[in-house]
């Protein structure tokens, strides 16, 4: 269609097309929906639409005892339930003034770091899947995740919804068959990470698809409350394990992988390296773990004094915080969840606009969000 404009220039008139990506889409990591406007292949407008998995966890928490809320936290980021448990339990302990015994803190650290490895496995695997690699890296990473889940099953009897941590400790001590299994796994894991690296890191297709794509500058990342690997990929060395150590993280020697440009490739590399550092932390924790009680003496139904507490942990996806308000009853008066996946999505629109359809899924994949946490 040739059309003559006012300035007598011949232009081809094309129409923009509006497409729903999600909620039923292979690469929206759940039931996320984006209403995207394309001009050809290029994204010109994007509106994220949330809420398909909204369950009202925060409201439900107001009607449960402090212990029962732990089961709700399992279902936030269901790929990293241990980290969620940890964050909630820390907040509740802060609120009630309960100090967990040292062994419990070490157990929690081991669990949280194993969870980080498992979660990053999934994050990277699905990210590569979005790149179109037909699930091969995903399958390898699933393999390692399964091994971690086997360990968790030994400890708490479940594979996804652990409900392992308790206010004042953990629900059960490490069973005797756990440590040998962990030793075996943690000695194998670096080899597997090397394997992923050989498979992916230098792959020219992956590099050309991710390098210099969707650059998130450090200023913008901080301003938009982005946390976790995304923030660190942008070059901000902010990790709550280092900058606000909780539990016993200040006793370990580990690095914070920090990217230089903040592009998709950096986000990929940061996660890859974080798995290594987690392995290192678990190794140190295994060597240092003391014996002793695994649970502080705390009443079954705690009545924390009137007040409020905010505790945050470095969950695999970013800063996971719980803000609890107590009115001295057995249930929290208000339980606010600072969900990293949700807040990281603030920059989604800015990052994706101007890139192509194929980049859209890759950039979105590099966010590594989890819908259970986004919609809560």
């Amino acid at each position: 269609m040739v059309k003559t404009n006012g300035d007598a220039k011949l232009t081809l008139k094309t129409e923009e097309v509006m497409v729903n990506i999600g909620p039923q889409h292979p690469s929206t990591h759940g039931v996320f929906r984006m209403r995207v406007t394309f001009d050809g292949e290029v994204v010109t407008e994007l509106e994220p639409i949330f809420g398909y998995l909204h369950r009202g966890s925060e409201k439900l928490a107001e009607e449960r005892t402090y212990t029962q809320v732990i089961t709700l936290t399992d279902r936030l980021d269901y790929l990293a339930s241990m980290s969620n448990n940890l964050a909630y339990v820390l907040a509740a302990e802060k609120l009630a003034g309960i100090q967990p015994p040292e062994r419990a803190m070490y157990i929690r650290v081991i669990m949280a770091e194993l969870m980080r490895i498992a979660s990053h496995c999934m994050g990277l695997g699905f990210f590569i899947n979005d790149l179109g690699a037909l699930a091969t890296p995903l399958m390898y990473m699933f393999r390692e995740r399964e091994k971690i889940l086997d360990l968790f099953e030994l400890v708490c009897g479940a594979r996804i919804t652990f409900s392992y941590m308790r206010i004042g400790g953990v629900s059960g001590d490490l069973p005797e068959e756990f440590m040998p299994a962990l030793v075996k796994f943690i000695n194998e894991m670096p080899g597997y990470i090397d394997e992923y690296e050989a498979l992916l890191r230098e792959n020219e297709i992956l590099i050309s698809r991710t390098k210099d794509i969707a650059i998130l500058t450090a200023e913008k990342a901080i301003n938009a409350s982005v946390t976790g690997p995304m923030l660190r990929a942008s070059g901000v060395p902010w990790d709550l394990r280092k900058s606000d150590p909780y539990e016993v993280y200040d006793r370990f020697d580990f690095d914070i992988p920090v990217g230089s440009t903040g592009d998709t490739y950096d986000r990929f590399l940061v996660r890859l390296e974080e798995m290594r550092e987690s392995v290192l932390i678990v190794k140190q924790a295994m060597e240092q773990i003391p014996s002793g009680p695994f649970r502080a003496l705390a009443p079954a139904l705690i009545h924390p004094p009137v007040g409020e507490a905010y505790a945050h942990v470095e969950a695999p996806k970013g800063e996971l915080g719980f803000y609890l308000v107590s009115d001295n009853s057995i249930a929290p008066y208000r339980c606010k969840i600072r969900a990293p996946s949700f807040i990281n999505l603030t920059v989604l629109r800015d990052l994706i606009i101007g890139w192509k359809l194929a980049d859209l899924v890759v950039i979105f994949g590099s966010f590594d969000i989890n819908m259970g946490e986004v919609d809560r």
């Binding site: 901080i222 301003n223 938009a224 409350s225 803000y323 949700f342 603030t346």
Partner: protein, 148 residues
């Protein structure tokens, strides 16, 4: 270790700039009058000694008599944090100024608070329900919510 800023000192500092902004300063938070929220937030963000560039979370709490907005601010440079609070009164149309102009990270969180708690953020560019559908009646996180 992230240190808590000294609340008394900071509130005096703020009071020098905005004389009646601080309503209460105790424990580990500063309670501000909602009219001054945006100004104080801007001050916290821009003052180099404070440099609170990171808005960690925005929370709305329903205390029946009033709604309390809790802002957790962190400075990466100095590794310190502060909690700002403000109150919105009235159950029909509680409102506080939006902080989206200062922190982009507030956009989605304020939308969430608006959706679930029903607090209007004046000056928010796209204040729309986020989790619930547009025709939903009521705000579920209010204590008097009984069901749609």
């Amino acid at each position: 270790m992230t240190t808590q800023l000294d609340v008394e000192k900071l509130s005096k500092q703020i009071q020098q700039q905005f004389p009646d902004a601080v309503q209460d300063a105790q424990g580990d938070y500063i309670l501000l009058k909602s009219d001054y929220l945006a100004d104080v937030a801007r001050y916290c963000h821009d003052t180099p000694a404070l440099a609170l560039h990171f808005l960690s979370s925005v929370t709305g709490v329903d205390y029946i008599d009033y709604f309390e907005l809790v802002y957790h601010l962190v400075s990466f440079e100095h590794n310190h944090s502060i909690v700002l609070k403000t109150r919105a009164y009235g159950r029909e149309d509680p409102h506080v100024p939006s902080l989206t102009g200062i922190w982009q990270g507030a956009t989605l969180q304020e939308r969430e608070v608006y959706d679930l708690m029903g607090i209007r953020f004046t000056g928010h560019p796209y204040l729309k329900r986020i989790f619930l559908w547009d025709t939903f009646q009521g705000h579920p996180h209010r204590k008097d919510f009984t069901g749609a």
